[in-house]
């Protein structure tokens, strides 16, 4: 066999069986049946993967058979995906998320959270003062559809009625729909607030300010009729959770925008990626918070009509969230 005098052909003949073996193992692992590989076979993959890598390096330098080099590149890449692929067990991951990752991510965003809360609060105060001075301002802050008849022309009795589920969408049989609608609507708004942060913070800040202004205008309307205390209870039973969630979403967005504008020592793209991943952690939690808020808003608010109980729930939820996020604890290594 004069042909096998070629070193590259001999090289291939000697190793081909290993490559084929790796190929079959990969096909089985990638078919979503990784569990069916025996432990022995699982251990084989990394070894064969490193062999394929070294074969690739050798083939690149000694073989001029292009199809062989292409094959080894593809094989090594596929093995790489398996060896370095996602290896997260969903439940373990979820546990770590709630115990550790989420509170840590929220806590590391405390500066942005403060700024976001401040923007919302200032907007609320401004809107409150404006509406108290001239009730026509109310229409500037609140779209007609969202107000649901609660505007300066409404009677005090009607406004009182909306607080205690005697009118508006207080009818008790529609609660599931209401909760669902509120949840998806709020979740979408907060995902927007997060994603818009990329555009250098400004749209996120605008969204937070608008959110705050609506709140201020709403409170001013009720305060004018001497219903401030009751309206606050009506709002805060879920509002503590919801406003906190929206502020966190905004702060995650702000952190991305900030990283893009002022990347510091990292490159802009790297800084954005870092802030993006941390923000995404916060956002995953925000969706959970909004789910809780929607349950409170859709069910608890309509079913509990005593002011005291509403304030108690609001205060409890506030204390619980704050303790969960900011209670000092040891940071656990990865």
């Amino acid at each position: 066999m004069a042909e096998l005098q070629l070193k590259s052909a001999r090289f291939r003949a000697e190793r081909e069986a290993d490559w084929r073996r790796l190929e079959t193992l990969l096909t089985r692992a990638q078919g979503g049946r990784a569990a069916k590989l025996r432990p022995q076979e699982l251990l084989e993959i990394p070894v064969l993967y490193r062999q394929a890598l070294s074969s690739l390096s050798v083939a690149r330098s000694i073989s001029l058979d292009r199809s062989l080099v292409d094959y080894l590149e593809g094989l090594a890449a596929r093995a790489y995906f398996v060896v370095y692929g996602t290896r997260t067990r969903p439940f373990e991951r979820m546990g770590r998320f709630f115990v550790h990752d989420w509170p840590m991510a929220v806590r590391s965003l405390w500066r942005e959270t403060l700024v976001g809360a401040l923007i919302g609060a200032v907007a609320a105060v401004v809107a409150y003062i404006l509406v108290r001075q001239d009730s026509d301002w109310f229409y500037g802050f609140m779209p007609q559809a969202m107000a649901g008849g609660r505007d300066p022309t409404a009677s005090t009795a009607f406004l009182r009625g909306t607080l205690y589920g005697e009118g508006g969408h207080g009818a008790k049989e529609g609660l599931e729909l209401l909760a669902t609608f509120l949840f998806t609507h709020n979740a979408q708004i907060s995902l927007f607030a997060f994603a818009l942060g990329f555009a250098l913070c400004l749209p996120t800040a605008a969204l937070l300010a608008y959110n705050g202004a609506t709140l201020g205008a709403f409170l001013a309307l009720f305060a004018e009729r001497g219903l401030a205390f009751q309206a606050t209870g009506w709002l805060m039973i879920h509002g503590v959770t919801e406003l906190f969630a929206v502020t966190l979403a905004g702060s995650a967005g702000l952190s991305i925008g900030w990283a893009v504008s002022f990347p510091g020592e990292r490159s802009r793209v790297e800084a954005a990626a870092h802030a993006g991943r941390r923000g995404a952690l916060v956002m995953a939690g925000v969706v959970v918070m909004l789910f809780v808020a929607a349950l409170l808003e859709g069910f608890a608010r309509q079913l509990i009509t005593s002011d005291g109980a509403r304030y108690a729930i609001a205060a409890t939820s506030g204390v619980l969230w704050a303790a969960y996020f900011y209670w000092p604890r040891r940071s656990r290594p990865e």
């Binding site: 003949a13 290896r87 997260t88 979408q188 991305i256 941390r278």
Partner: protein
């Protein structure tokens, strides 16, 4: 001034990203895998496929709920039930369909899988759950924001404002076309990229295959030295494709070029195979001694 302009133009034309070909991608072991970046059109098609699957699922769930309600108490689920399904279902599916599938070992949604794409971490490390979440949360901005501008018609918003919003948000849709790795905003924020999964088929070794050593077919050193690596690869391609007419044409040219004076009764294929074996052997042994002859113009 003119020089500055020309300079700028040259720089600008240099900055236009090339079409995605192999991209250097170094594994933790230090070997470059040269991965192919996923094409923009492929990714578009994959997304459309996924969107169709989601809509199909929603319709299926609604139908099931309708039949279920009818079966239990001979009633309908009513508009309210249908709304709950569509509002909550659309939100959950939209957000967790992508995340769920990309967290699986294949790191691809069914649409991506159909087009042979997958998600990887750009830095060569493991693809984390956070990265997958981040790249999909950004989709809200890239796809659903422009879409909501188009659906916002008739809500009392100025038409001009809608048009401006659509254009502004439309920028994100074409964003991947303006960078080398075809990163969309979500990829940028998550440190991921989408690549084409390489195919792995090991073609037979050409040097062993067929009657490579036809009696009487031998080449002199000068004849073998007529070509370099580039021509060898073209010859490999020709032999593997095996088109009769191309084989004849290539054999004719090589015979002319090397002034072939051996037996003329060997078939074109046998002739080319033996020449390929001889040329590869020669080039490989020279490469071992440190000289890779790139093409036929490369003289030592």
């Amino acid at each position: 001034m003119r020089a500055a302009l020309a300079n700028w133009r040259a720089r600008w034309s240099g900055r236009v990203p090339p079409p995605p070909g192999p991209r250097p991608f170094v594994t933790p072991e230090g070997v470059d895998l040269r991965l192919a970046v996923g094409l923009y059109t492929d990714r578009m098609s994959a997304f459309i496929l996924d969107a169709l699957i989601i809509i199909g699922l929603l319709i299926a769930i609604s139908l099931l709920a309708m039949f279920g309600a009818w079966g239990f108490h001979r009633g309908s689920i009513g508009t309210e039930g249908a709304l709950v399904i569509w509002l909550l279902g659309a939100f959950l599916l939209r957000n967790f369909y992508f995340i769920g599938f990309e967290l699986r070992p294949g790191a691809a949604t069914p649409g991506k899988r159909a087009l042979g794409l997958r998600v990887i971490a750009r830095d060569g490390g493991r693809l984390t759950a956070d990265a997958v979440f981040a790249r999909n949360a950004m989709r809200e901005l890239e796809i659903f924001l422009p879409a909501s501008f188009f659906l916002a018609r008739g809500m009392g918003v100025d038409a001009g404002l809608i048009a401006l919003g659509a254009i502004w948000s439309g920028v994100f849709v074409v964003f991947p076309l303006f960078n080398r790795d075809r990163l969309r905003l979500g990829d940028l924020a998550a440190g991921t990229m989408v690549i084409k999964v390489p195919k792995t088929t090991l073609r037979p070794e050409l040097v062993q295959e067929g009657p490579a050593t036809v009696r009487g077919v031998a080449f002199s050193e000068a004849q073998i030295d007529a070509y370099g690596i580039k021509e060898l690869h073209v010859l490999e391609q020709v032999l593997r494709t095996g088109d009769r007419r191309t084989l004849a044409e290539v054999a004719r040219r090589i015979r002319t070029k090397i002034a072939w004076d051996g037996p003329m009764d060997v078939t074109d294929r046998a002739f080319l195979s033996s020449y390929y074996a001889a040329l590869r052997g020669r080039l490989e042994s020279r490469a071992l001694f440190g000289h890779r002859r790139q093409d036929k113009f490369d003289r030592v």
